[in-house]
């Protein structure tokens, strides 16, 4: 563990799902690693707003790096879940064909899946599809079944990776917006907008939407990340439209289409749209796109109702070219570019961690295994998943386990406090960590309670409480 010094072996820029996987993988070795992110908390970029799918490995031809990393990554989730205790479930994926001409595409996907070595992939009749997923439109003609596909809560995955990395010595710096980098000798000096400096022998650029700007700051390759927006609706857990499997339409040339996703935590997500935008901070939802989601979701699952909508949101895919761009920079020394990681980036991310570790080794980084590396993070009890007897037992040691703060998602005071102690001190950070404010009342009842707990636990004053960072202060004045 580093203390006091700002010199590192590796600095990973961007604490999204790629950066977090890379940093955690490196934490198994005798290395000093820094993981920096410009946002107030980790996972606040693309990793917080996406479909949360562990893909099935049939969407892309394995000539692409992204297909190979997807196939490798999807196999790594079971072990990661055992180590890191994040919400993940292999519920399986169905691809539903609603028109005769789509059956041909299904056949092609099936062949590609078989060629990629996808386990258990199956071409299905209408009857088989409806048996696998009774919520499907009865007019479904047939489709594809991929039992190994699954769902994950992406931010919880990142939080767990970061926690594990931190436990194994990685230093996390948030609010660290890389502005300038200079190389002297065999060391990069990376300066943040607020003046903080990190020195590192190797740098990994996993800055997501901003990977182009970071590359520029290092005098490396010139490229342009183009954001492509995806909008979503979230439906209440009591909706009748909750499927058992992830439901995909037949993909188009530009996107995998809009899905109906039963989230691990019991709500239903529908979306995403796919629309090129100019602005990397444009997370606004639009009437036109949201309408598209409802009609597309209804085509597959007719019971989808607008009355079940509890919120809408948008995420941005960092698009660059057809394939992932994961290579050592040809222009800047000791810099690994990890850019253009759009779908299936989340699925591939554990394999990206592995891949980048190997690239660093090829670039000369010495890897020697840590004797005290501990891949496990402690399991945290969630009141939502426990019986009253189990909660009562926990409450004997810590009464806060039986003090309910968020009743929609069944989150206790103890869980809020744990989120804060794990470094999540914004309302959104606490939301992603605990699910409090994420349910049907969307924080109507618990926001004030959470504000008070943050103030009590951190000593922050009312005017320092934010939604997700500096500009998003919640309160304007005190009486």
């Amino acid at each position: 563990m580093k203390t006091g010094s700002n010199r590192y072996d590796v600095c990973v820029i961007g604490a999204g799902v790629c950066g977090a996987n890379i940093a955690r993988r490196l934490s198994a070795y005798e290395l000093d690693v820094a993981l920096v992110d410009k946002e107030a908390d980790v996972s606040f970029g693309t990793s917080k707003a996406n479909s949360g799918i562990v893909h099935g490995g049939f969407h892309h031809n394995k000539k692409y790096l992204k297909a190979r990393l997807e196939l490798q990554g999807m196999m790594m989730f079971d072990r990661l879940q055992q180590e890191l205790d994040f919400p993940f479930k292999r519920c399986g994926i169905v691809v539903a064909a609603l028109h005769e001409d789509e059956m041909r595409a299904i056949e092609q996907l099936y062949m590609q899946g078989v060629d990629n070595g996808v386990i258990g992939i199956e071409m299905c009749s209408r009857e088989r599809m409806l048996e696998l997923e009774p919520k499907l439109n009865p007019d479904t003609l047939g489709g594809l079944w991929v039992p190994g596909g699954g769902i994950v809560e992406p931010y919880r995955f990142v939080f767990a990776l970061v926690e594990s990395a931190r436990k194994n010595g990685v230093e996390i710096m948030t609010g660290f917006k890389v502005e300038h980098a200079a190389r002297a000798g065999d060391e990069w000096t990376v300066r943040a907008a607020d003046g903080r400096v990190v020195k590192a022998r190797y740098v990994v650029n996993a800055a997501g939407l901003y990977a182009d700007e970071v590359s520029r700051a290092f005098g490396a390759e010139e490229f342009e990340i183009k954001p492509r927006k995806g909008e979503y609706y979230l439906l209440d857990r009591l909706t009748k439209a909750k499927p058992e499997r992830v439901i995909f339409p037949v993909p188009t040339s530009v996107s995998k289409g809009m899905l109906v996703i039963p989230t691990v935590e019991g709500t239903v997500l529908i979306g995403p749209t796919a629309e090129a935008v100019d602005d990397k901070a444009d997370l606004a939802t639009t009437r036109e796109q949201l309408e598209k989601i409802l009609s597309s979701a209804r085509a597959m699952v007719p019971s989808v109702s607008e009355y079940d909508v509890i919120t809408s949101f948008a995420g941005l895919r960092p698009t660059l070219e057809e394939d992932f761009y994961i290579e050592p920079s040809a222009k800047a020394p000791a810099l690994i570019q990890v850019a253009g990681i759009q779908s299936p980036g989340l699925t591939a991310s554990p394999a990206i961690g592995e891949y980048v570790k190997d690239l660093l080794k090829k670039e000369g980084l010495r890897l020697s295994e840590k004797s005290d590396y501990d891949p496990f993070v402690g399991k945290r009890p969630h009141v939502k998943d426990l019986t009253p007897y189990e909660v009562d037992k926990l409450a004997q040691a810590d009464p806060a386990y039986a003090n309910m703060i968020c009743r929609c998602e069944k989150v206790s005071e103890a869980e809020i406090v744990q989120a804060i102690r794990a470094g999540h001190t914004t309302l959104d950070g606490i939301k992603y960590f605990t699910r409090a404010q994420m349910g049907r009342c969307q924080g109507g009842f618990c926001t004030y309670k959470i504000i008070k707990i943050i103030m009590r636990e951190t000593g922050l004053s009312w005017d320092e409480i934010t939604k997700n960072g500096d500009g998003s202060r919640i309160l304007k004045d005190a009486l």
Binding site: L283, L290, A395, A400, G444, T447, G471, I474
Partner: protein, 418 residues
């Protein structure tokens, strides 16, 4: 685990829960109130404006005063109140109902009772429910959350405010925010008429010069980190005129776009809900389809005034006590919402008793007629000077009104407005 048995348990310690518990206690049954907040009183505790109690107490009180006056009646009774206690599980399938209450002070408690009264109140609809597109910045709150922050926590959520929806809480908050020095730039209502009570339009908007935009749809919320403005679009002759959309700059959006009964526990208990009210389908004793489970107040249907809530809850408590004594209605008729009626609660009447129903109309009208038909025969016709959806209508039906229904197979009482 602490294990306690009562004759009855009331879920929710607001006005409804307290009023129902008092009746059960008065009839000699032991009763526990379970309240998730740290104090009794429910949402009244944050409603520091006046206008409460004109019917119940013949005087105008603030919300906390009203709650206190009801709570005073608990003193000296045998009612046990658990505050800071959230019912997380409810099994009402057997004769003895089981409730698991999670409390910060006593861990998990298991309560057993023969009767459960649902009095959980309602919650506010939010931005997602009405699907306002746009950015997702800080500064968007439900009016009730803002009211809590200002009136109890002592914080000001924002300075330049636009209120979406003209529900009563929004109107009250327009005035409240003005009083603490904020500028309320507009109240925006999608319908051609206000959703709140007329007196609140006058006292909270007109008196403060706050513009009310009727027939305007909120089409966008703007602001990356904190709210910067709200785009609203006029609706003319049923068409949304996107070409006439305009943006009102502000740093805060308060939503007052309707209330929904909080029936998650009811669903857990297997209670059938009425899709028009989102509350339980109740019989003439205000009992749900689950024997021994009663409902009253805003969890049954959203009321205008707490005075009506208390009146209804008192009936529910008294009925629950009668039910515990083994009394059952001899004959009931179904209640049907006829033309221009959105809903009636409860859904059944007792043919041999005095019944009180609350209903809401779908239309705004002067000189309207409320008609009651029993098996298609008009038995009652009442003139109303003015009706509107935001003002609840009470209807009383006694054995005389219902005599045609006695002995008829599947008798129906239909309420209509013309």
């Amino acid at each position: 685990m602490k294990d306690l048995t009562f004759d009855s348990v009331v879920i929710g310690g607001g006005a409804a829960g307290m009023a129902a518990a008092l009746e059960l206690d008065r009839a000699g049954f032991s009763c526990a109130i379970v309240e998730r907040e740290e104090a009794l009183g429910g949402i009244l505790t944050q409603c520091i404006h006046n206008g409460f109690g004109l019917i119940e107490f013949n005087e105008e009180l603030s919300g906390p005063e009203f709650a206190e006056k009801i709570e005073e009646r608990l003193a000296g009774t045998g009612i046990t109140s658990f505050t800071g206690a959230t019912v997380m599980e409810l099994d009402a399938s057997g004769d003895i109902k089981t409730l698991y209450c999670y409390t910060g002070a006593h861990g998990v408690m298991r309560l057993s009772a023969r009767v459960v009264v649902l009095a959980m109140g309602c919650r506010e609809r939010n931005r997602g429910n009405i699907r306002i597109p746009g950015d997702r910045p800080a500064g968007v709150y439900t009016a009730g959350l803002a009211q809590r922050l200002v009136n109890i926590e002592g914080f000001v959520p924002g300075k330049d405010v636009v209120i979406i929806g003209s529900g009563d809480i929004g109107l009250i908050m327009a005035r409240r925010m003005s009083w603490i020095g904020c500028k309320v730039h507009a109240v925006v209502e999608i319908l051609p008429y206000p959703s709140g009570l007329t007196r609140n339009i006058v006292q909270c908007l007109h008196d403060f010069g706050i513009p009310l935009y009727l027939s305007h749809l909120t089409t966008n919320i703007v602001g990356r980190e904190r709210v910067e403005g709200v785009e609203i679009t006029p609706i003319e002759n049923g068409a949304t005129r996107y070409d006439k959309a305009f943006t009102i700059p502000c740093d805060t959006v308060l939503l007052s776009v309707g209330l929904v009964p909080e029936n998650e526990l009811s669903k857990m208990a297997g209670v059938e809900l009425n899709p028009m009210t989102n509350g339980p389908v109740a019989d003439s004793m205000l009992m749900t389809n689950v024997p021994g489970v009663f409902a009253c107040g805003n969890v049954l249907h959203v009321h205008d005034l707490v005075d009506y809530v208390v009146e209804e809850a008192r009936r529910a408590g008294a009925h629950a006590a009668r039910w515990l004594k083994g009394e059952r209605p001899k004959a009931e008729a179904r209640v049907k919402a006829g033309p221009n009626v959105r809903y009636c609660a409860p859904s059944r009447v007792d043919l041999h008793a005095a019944n009180k129903l609350y209903m809401r109309t779908l239309i705004v009208k002067n000189d309207a007629t409320l008609e009651v038909k029993v098996n298609n025969r008009v038995v009652k016709s009442v003139k109303k000077n003015h009706i509107q959806p935001s003002e609840m209508i009470a209807v009383e039906l006694g054995p005389k009104d219902l005599e045609f229904a006695v002995g008829a197979p599947d008798p129906v009482v239909e309420l209509s407005i013309s």
